[in-house]
Structures are given as C-alpha cells and as structure tokens.
Amino acid sequence: MEAAADEEQEGISAQSPAQAPPSSASSLPKEQSQVELELRVLQALEFYPPSKLKGIHRHFVLYGLMEYLRNSLDRQFSADEVLQLLDRFFNLEMLKPEDDEKDNFTQGEEFSLPESFFNKDE
C-alpha cells in the first residue's frame, strides 16, 4: 500500500503545467512553473506594452496577451488571469493612456468604402 502511495505522489509531481486543469492559476504546482509563467508574461510585454492597456485598444491588447501566453504555455488563460499576472508587476490603475490615440479619433473623417468593394465579384 505504501509503495502505491509513493508511486502516486511521484506521478503527481511529474505532471507538467500543460496538464493542469485550465483556468486555475492558483493551483500552480511548482515554483519552477511560476518562474516560467512570469518570464512569459515579461516576454509578452515586449509586444504588448502595459501602457496600451488603458486606451481604446485595451481589449485587443489583452487578447494579444492571452494568445501569447496560451501559445507559449499551452493552456487557456482568461482575461482576469492575465490581468492578475500583470498586477504583480505593475500598478495597473496608475497607467495613463497614450496621448497619440486621441488624434486617431478626434479627426472626424468621412467614412469611405474602398474601391474594391465597388468591383463586381466574379
């Protein structure tokens, strides 16, 4: 019986994060995977700077982060999880949106359809 119990324990500790149930960031089994997780988050920020998390593009920036982490860690991340992770490094509330965004939207340009829409399809 004891032997069996030992084997069981071994089995559990040999599990990789990839086999962990989805959406359970709180049950990360090892310190090592914790480090990897944080490393990936920091890598992701190279593409998705936290400053963009306050502006109008924030949902798509967050989506990008979710996808990046999913690809590199092979499991689904929820938006909340990602925000929690970021919270460890940044005070998200203190972020200011980038100013150049405002230019994009205050201009009031007239909508126009691209030429290609007017061509008949074959």
Binding site: F47, I56, G64, E109, F111, L113, E115, F118
Partner: protein, 321 residues
C-alpha cells in the same frame, strides 16, 4: 507627348538625348505618368500605388511610388517590370494572386485538419488554420521591416475574405446615403450592442463553454464602435442626425445597428494596426472577426434594413416622432 515625327521620342526632357535608334532601352516614353494610379508588385502580391515621380536614368525609366494605405516609409523607386496599369484585368490578377497564396497553404494544412476530430487539442488545430491566412515566419519587430509587410498582406487577405453579400450591403448603404440622400432610421433594433450579445450567445452555444477570447474581442469591438462612430464611420450627410440622436452620455452602440457596425469592420484593419499584434495572434483574431461577419451574413435579413428613410438630397430626412 510624342507628336513629332522624330524617331527619337524620349520625353521628360531631363535626360540627354541619345541617338540610339534601335530603341531597345532608350527612346521610350515613360509608361506611367506622374500622379497615375497603378498596381505595383511588392513581393508576390500586387498593391494599389501612385506614381509620384518619374525619372529616366541611363535610358531606363524609374518611378517613385507610394503604396496607397501604407505609410510613406514604404515609398520606393521601382522599374517598369514592377508595375502594371490599373485596369480591370490587372485587378483580377491582383485578386488571383491573393487567392493563390491562400490556396497554397490551405491545400497543405487542409488535409491535416480534416483528420483531426473536432474538439481535440484545440491549440493545434487552430495553429493549422492559422497557416491558411498568412505565410511567413515569425519575426520580431524590426522597424519598417518584414513584420509590417506581413501585416499588410494579412490585412488585404482579411478584406478579400469579406463576405460578398455584405460587400454588396455596404455598396447599397453607400448609395442610399450618399446618392439618394436617405438615412438609417434611428434608433435601430437590433442595436450594435444587441447584435454583439447575440453573437456571444451563439458562440457559447456552439462551443458549449464560455470563450474568453471571443468575450474580450466583442468588448473591444463595442469599445471601438463607440469611439469610432462619430470619428470615422459616418458619411457627411449623417452628422446632423448623429447630433440629434446621440446626446450626452448615450453610447452609439445602443442607438445604431448592423449598417454602421458593418462599416466598422471595414475600418478594423486600420484600427488594429495600432495594436501592433504578433502575427499569430493577429491571424487568430482575423479568423474570429471573419466568423462574426459570417454571423452577420447569416442573419442579414433580420439585422439589416432593406430600405432607408427619406429621399430628399438634404439632411432633412429625419422623421418627427
């Protein structure tokens, strides 16, 4: 230009006249004029461009082109062999080139995808699908480097997958408003908000679970819509109506409907460019956006108006309530 009976017909006047009568390279007029819109090869695809300058160096014409819709940093000098006249025939060729890019990849990955049972190992099948949209390897951001080119290719691929009945819807929309002076009757039902919610319900039912990615994307679309509507989604004739119908804190996504939501999709590539997304994520995103478009298409008759209000050329087509 070449009105004289001289054999030497080189125009432009900046170059030295050469007496080479064989005219294999010299004595030719510029095939493209300054200010002319053309199709230019950039990599394997054709893009709409404009000739800004033309120059004859050592008997060869070259043209400085600006790619329409691209930043000026892409402007470059090209020779004749990179350019085509902007004709229907060449536009078809442009579309064919785009399609053949897509087909090459789908033939490869389509086979693999078919053998995978649905629902198993989602991450993998998604990656297979991803290849369908864009070729090319992952590259880290180089300023003005290949990443931007690939984004440009995938943008035009997104547009080329735009459902054709929805394209027609947009052309009709254009005609109603700009040519016939009509307006969409507001407030609409279903509203943009309603439609996005319906889509999320549809998606949740289909996947049998709540999909976080879709939820985030839909939030993003609503956010874009509210900001973008007054800034870039209206025709001039609609501004008066906007100021009448959307007052104070009211968000446009609770007033406007499918007609204007569809216009947002036309602007999405432009808007998303600011996010600077990684190639893989962008492709996944575009697939999801196309899925939303298909949902709109499926419900076209219930979401979209078939006739608009008013008929005068002015903006006084607003009915009193």
């Amino acid at each position: 230009m070449g009105g004289s009976s001289n054999t030497n017909t080189s125009s432009g006047g900046k170059d030295k006249d050469k007496d080479d009568e064989r005219g294999s390279r010299s004595t030719k007029e510029a095939s493209f004029k300054e200010g002319e819109k053309v199709l230019a090869y950039h990599g394997p695809l054709l893009y709409e461009a404009k000739v800004q300058k033309s120059e004859n160096k050592e008997d060869e014409w070259r043209y400085h082109v600006h790619y329409l819709g691209w930043s000026k940093s892409w402007d470059e000098w090209v020779t004749n062999d990179r350019l085509l006249k902007l004709t229907d025939e060449n536009i078809r060729k442009q579309q064919e080139l785009e399609k053949s890019q897509v087909v090459d990849k789908s033939v490869k990955s389509g086979r693999a995808a078919q053998h995978k049972p649905k629902g198993s190992n989602d991450a993998k099948t998604d990656k297979e699908d991803t290849k369908i949209l864009v070729k090319g390897k992952k590259r880290k951001g180089q300023p003005g480097g290949t990443e931007e080119k690939e984004r440009k290719s995938s943008e035009s691929l997104f547009m080329s997958h735009f459902p054709s009945t929805l394209k027609k819807q947009l052309v009709d929309d254009w005609e109603f408003v700009t040519q016939l002076g009509k307006l969409v009757k507001l407030p609409r039902s279903p509203t943009v908000d309603d439609i996005l919610k319906k889509y999320l319900e549809h998606r949740t039912k289909k996947d049998n679970k709540i999909n976080d990615s879709y939820a985030e994307i839909l939030k993003g679309l609503r956010c874009y819509f509210d900001k973008a509507l007054p800034a870039m989604l209206l025709y001039k004739k609609e501004h008066h109506q906007y100021s009448e119908e959307v007052k104070g804190d009211v968000s446009p996504s609770t007033i406007y409907g499918a007609e204007h939501l569809l216009r947002l999709f036309v602007k999405l590539p432009e808007l998303l460019a600011s996010v600077n997304m990684e190639e893989d994520a962008l492709n996944k995103l575009q697939q999801k956006l196309l899925d939303i478009l298909k949902f709109l298409q499926k419900n076209q008759s219930s979401f979209f108006l078939s006739a608009y209000d008013g008929g005068s050329k002015g903006t006084d087509g607003i009915k009193t309530k």
